[in-house]
């Protein structure tokens, strides 16, 4: 608002706060919740639902829940959740049939692997030390899981189970399928017709069939493909199935990045006289892979969730062990607790990964603009 000061005849600017109807919590509520009649109705419905949902849910989860006890009898009287189940069975749910006394090994191994993955997720660490950490971490992981050295008894892969198995299937699946996916993506964009056709056929064939059929094939048919006497164990077969499947999806993600790269980059590289591999490795891939990192993380989330399908071919991943924990008739009524526990763990993994992908998207996007 501008006034003219009578004495100096100069305009004076005075800050005046907006009327209270435009700011503050009251205004916010009015603007966001009660701006019109339909809006008000929606708000009321939503509030009603919240009131109906949240208090009973919290009550079930926490206030009326049973946390102690050593058997299903502890939960006879309760109206809330029976977390006794998790208390009693958590070792089995997390580690499956892994030798009971040795379960500290998969625990540490999984933490090492997760720490490595988390560390790799932070762009500041990208560099040689990280590569070194992987070089040390991976063998450490294998030694801990298999044992057979340093006085640790050997534990064969058919005893692996629970969360470590899920993490291994997902991590190995995504890491090994990645170079495969890059090659397929390059193949699909190749100018050589035979290479293009083979890559396209593979990608479309795999993407057209459900993961279950690939897993079935891996578990039932692989043995028939191999010469007599050569057998690969069940875990490896499922792992190969997951890798073959994931590679096709990765290829499509990477192809998105290849296509998003401006044509000028390709032409400039050609003009410099770089060979195909120089062009690809020095110019194209570094830039286009950076573009698709967030999508790759999303791919990781799907792969992580997809590993639960190995239940169907009889591997004891985390979902299977959670289910098996309530197969016992005495515990059967507490299936919700088992599924809730599994759901919370899966959610924690996937949600943090999706947040991470958004963080990366912002960060890499900001770099791109600079």
């Amino acid at each position: 608002m501008t006034y003219i000061d009578q004495t100096t005849e100069e305009p004076v600017v005075r800050a005046v706060s907006p009327p209270s109807s435009q700011i503050g919590p009251v205004a916010w509520v009015r603007k966001n919740l009660f701006s019109s009649i339909p809006n008000t109705l929606l708000t009321l419905v939503a509030l009603f639902l919240l009131w109906k949902l949240i208090p009973p849910l919290l009550d079930w989860l926490l206030f009326s829940a049973t946390f102690s006890g050593s058997g299903p009898e502890a939960c006879k009287a309760t109206t809330g959740a029976c977390w006794t189940l998790v208390g009693v069975k958590h070792r089995f749910m997390l580690f499956g049939f892994y030798t009971y006394e040795e379960q500290w090994r998969p625990a540490i191994a999984t933490i090492v692997l997760l720490a490595l993955i988390c560390g790799s997720g932070y762009p500041r660490f990208w560099g040689k030390p990280l590569a070194l950490a992987w070089l040390i971490g991976l063998p450490l992981f294998c030694v801990l899981m298999w044992g057979g050295v340093l006085g640790m008894p050997m534990v064969e892969t058919d005893k692996w189970g629970g969360l470590p198995l899920t993490v291994v299937l997902a991590a190995v699946g995504i890491v090994v399928s990645f170079p495969f996916g890059v090659v397929l993506a390059l193949g699909r964009r190749s100018t050589l017709p035979a290479i293009r056709t083979v890559s396209t056929l593979y990608i479309e064939l795999i993407r057209g069939v459900p993961l279950i059929s690939v897993l079935f094939m891996a578990s039932v048919m692989f043995p028939l493909f191999l010469p007599e006497g050569v057998t690969i164990n069940k875990l490896l077969r499922a792992q190969v199935g997951i890798i073959l499947f994931t590679a096709a999806y990765q290829a499509e993600t990477v192809r998105g990045g290849l296509q998003a790269l401006p044509k000028g980059q390709y032409e400039a590289a050609d003009a410099l006289g770089l060979s195909y591999w120089q062009k690809t490795l020095l110019i194209v891939l570094p830039q286009s892979l950076k573009l698709v990192i967030p999508s790759l993380v999303n791919q990781f989330i799907s792969t992580f969730k997809d590993t639960s399908l190995v239940l169907i071919i009889g591997l004891y991943d985390f979902l299977t062990t959670s289910r098996t924990a309530v197969a016992d008739p005495a515990w059967q009524p507490f299936y919700v607790e088992a599924y809730a526990f599994a759901a919370i763990v899966y959610f924690a993994f996937c949600f943090s990964m999706s947040r991470y992908s958004q963080f990366l998207e912002r960060r890499l996007g900001a770099q791109g603009r600079r």
């Binding site: 290479i195 069939v209 459900p210 059929s213 493909f225 007599e228 969730k305 997809d306 919700v336």
Partner: protein, 395 residues
């Protein structure tokens, strides 16, 4: 051939020539693929031969010998394996088709809700999307199945909200009209209604293109279909006999039943896919420039009209391609039925595989069927995509 190319690009040795290399690479790849294929095939043949496992698809015509509860195509244990597989395929297609429609509806509602100016509604939708997307579908299916079978009462204490409707851990039993000639004529009426309303819709669009006058196409379509169905039903003698489920022996007889397995799979697939569709719809709507909304508002359209007439038609162009892959995902995810005991194609195929031991043939069948249907869905969605794409736009 390679010698001639060397002559043309003098100074470059033949093995560094790009064209020669290209040919070499391709020959190498093809050789590798052929070799790998040959290796796998010979191994398999040798293995089959040595174990004297018979091959071929003739087993499909043998008697199946097992029963299937969930059947839309009539099936007896005396029928062939091929027919059993057909029953399974039909179940797969049924649950996928219904799932696609429901997931699209739910997903659109949630996606639009996420954009709502109402803060609470938007949060609700966001929470739904985040929770559902980050939990494996298989876990959700187990949850729904356990929820239905364990929290609903037994048949004897079945919930009975409306006469003729029973809800128990055996599923939902509802009355259905007894099918006879009268209903057949009503169906013909409905078909005529559909044809007429397509004609009307065409006429309406042409009129709108020419004169700008809008026409309530949706209402008219609904009305026409209902009226023609009613006329057909009356003409057929207005049979109103209903087959009403009633308790008998161990369960219900009469009416139609929705099994817990089918319900759990349908709910699971719908809820899961809807979360992804919601994100696509939201992205699609956001992709339409805000100026469009403002212009529409300036013209005096109401928010609902803005959404229906301005935003949705434009965002469809962005939405359709990713939607195609969600439909394909839903279709492929329906194979998880096997884990909760619904007889879809894979589940029946698995039984056939166990009974006949024809692993290779059965897995080949799964792959062929899913590839074919995936291809059909893609083709249909591509056709639809070209339909909603801007006419005359160069893409």
């Amino acid at each position: 051939m390679s010698v001639r190319t060397t002559d043309r690009t003098s100074g470059v040795p033949w093995y560094n020539d790009e064209k020669t290399r290209g040919v070499l690479y391709q020959v190498a790849l093809l050789a590798l693929v052929l070799f790998a294929g040959w290796w796998l095939v010979t191994n398999t043949l040798v293995n089959l031969e040595r174990r004297q496992i018979s091959t071929g698809f003739s087993f499909l015509w043998r008697e199946a010998g097992f029963a299937i509860a969930e059947q839309r195509i009539h099936f007896e244990p005396t029928d062939s394996y091929a027919r059993a597989l057909a029953v399974g395929l039909f179940n797969t297609l049924e649950v996928s088709a219904i799932g696609i429609v429901l997931a699209t509806l739910l997903g659109t509602v949630v996606g639009v809700a996420r954009l709502s100016s109402n803060w609470l509604v938007a949060r609700f939708a966001t929470a739904y999307v985040e929770v559902v997307r980050n939990i494996p579908l298989l876990l959700q299916l187990f949850f729904w199945y356990a929820f239905i079978t364990q929290s609903l009462p037994s048949v004897r204490e079945a919930l009975h909200p409306v006469p003729g409707v029973y809800l128990s851990n055996r599923g939902l039993a509802v009355p259905v009209p007894e099918f006879n000639q009268g209903q057949a004529i009503a169906l013909i009426g409905a078909a005529i209604g559909v044809v007429v309303s397509i004609l009307v819709a065409r006429w309406a669009r042409r009129r709108q293109d020419a004169t700008g006058q809008p026409f309530p196409t949706i209402l008219a379509t609904l009305g026409l279909v209902v009226v023609f169905t009613l006329v057909g039903w009356l003409a057929g003698g207005a049979h109103s006999a209903l087959s009403i489920p009633h308790k008998e022996g161990f369960g219900f007889t009469g009416g139609a039943e929705l099994s817990p397995e089918f319900a759990a799979l349908l709910i699971g697939l719908t809820v899961y896919t809807a979360a992804f569709i919601a994100e696509i719809v939201r992205g699609g709507v956001l992709a339409v420039a805000y100026g469009q909304t403002e212009a529409a508002m300036a013209l005096g359209l109401r928010p609902a009209q803005v959404m229906r007439l301005i935003l949705l038609p434009q965002s469809l162009r962005v939405i359709v391609p990713p939607m195609t892959s969600q439909y394909l995902n839903l279709f492929k995810n329906s194979t998880l039925a096997i884990a909760i005991g619904f007889r879809d194609f894979v589940s029946v195929d698995d039984t056939v595989m166990n009974q006949t031991g024809q692993a290779i043939e059965c897995i080949a069948l799964i792959m062929a069927v899913y590839l074919t249907v995936s291809l059909l869905i893609s083709l249909f969605m591509n056709w639809y995509n070209t339909k909603v794409a801007l006419r005359g736009s160069t893409r």
